[in-house]
């Protein structure tokens, strides 16, 4: 099956990104496809390029890079990002920034859309 993912909470503050990560890893191990992860609301903070968590804590930047390397597309909403200071100079990858149309595209291209 094809899953589209919407993340609305920021890193560390809420468990949403952690749950979504574990869901994505499990789905891919099972042979499902992730059509993309769209970061909206405070979710955009997950793609800050400056996260420096304590070394004994999980590194959310690294976890997201891992799934990106496995071919998962990450999309940061440009409008939600600008409002919160996640812009070209502060985002992990500039070409991840895109518009809300991409969220609708995920709804169209996925068998299931799930929000965390």
């Amino acid at each position: 099956m094809k899953f589209g993912i919407l993340i609305k909470d920021g890193p560390y503050m809420h468990q949403a990104m952690d749950t979504a990560y574990n869901f994505i890893v499990a789905a891919m191990e099972m042979g499902h496809e992730i059509t993309g992860v769209f970061f909206y609301n405070d979710g955009v903070y997950n793609r800050s390029n400056a996260l420096e968590p304590p070394i004994d804590e999980r590194n959310i930047m690294k976890l997201l890079t891992d799934i990106e390397l496995k071919g998962v597309r990450l999309i940061v909403c440009v409008a939600a990002g600008k409002r919160r200071g996640i812009v070209n100079k502060t985002v992990c990858e500039v070409n991840e920034i895109s518009g809300l149309g991409q969220l609708l595209d995920l709804c169209i291209a996925s068998d299931r859309m799930i929000t965390f």
């Binding site: 609301n41 709804c107 929000t115």
Partner: protein
């Protein structure tokens, strides 16, 4: 595009306005989605119904009053269906005449039937 080919997406709006940004950013998404010729619904349930309350005046807060956008969502932005849940209104002492714009008031069962037709939900 034929009606059958369109993707049915429902915004499920459950938050009151101003205490957090969910309803404001949901509206920003609705406006964008309207341009894509899909079948977009918006349902207001639980505290979400407060977003439609008439007479919002944010001047003392210093925040933008985004409730006015709901008035033009259907006509200017081609959002196909706007539903508000009857029971949530009643529980809050509100009725149709308290709402800023004309929307379809549905009871829970009827709204749930609409939900069964959806391909995707976007909760805010």
């Amino acid at each position: 595009m034929s009606e059958q080919e369109k993707t049915k997406v429902m915004f499920v709006c459950r938050s009151a306005p101003y205490g957090n940004i969910f309803e404001q950013e949901a509206i920003e998404a609705m406006i964008m989605f309207g341009a894509y010729e899909q079948d977009i619904s918006v349902s207001f349930i639980d505290d979400g119904v407060y977003s439609l309350k008439k007479g919002q005046d944010t001047s003392l807060l210093g925040k933008k009053n985004f409730s006015l956008t709901y008035m033009i969502l259907k006509d200017d932005f081609e959002i196909n269906h706007i539903y508000v849940e009857k029971e949530s209104l009643e529980e809050r002492g509100l009725n149709e005449s308290d709402l800023i714009t004309e929307v379809e008031v549905l009871d829970r069962n009827a709204l749930r039937e609409k939900m069964d037709e959806m391909k995707a939900f976007l909760p805010f």
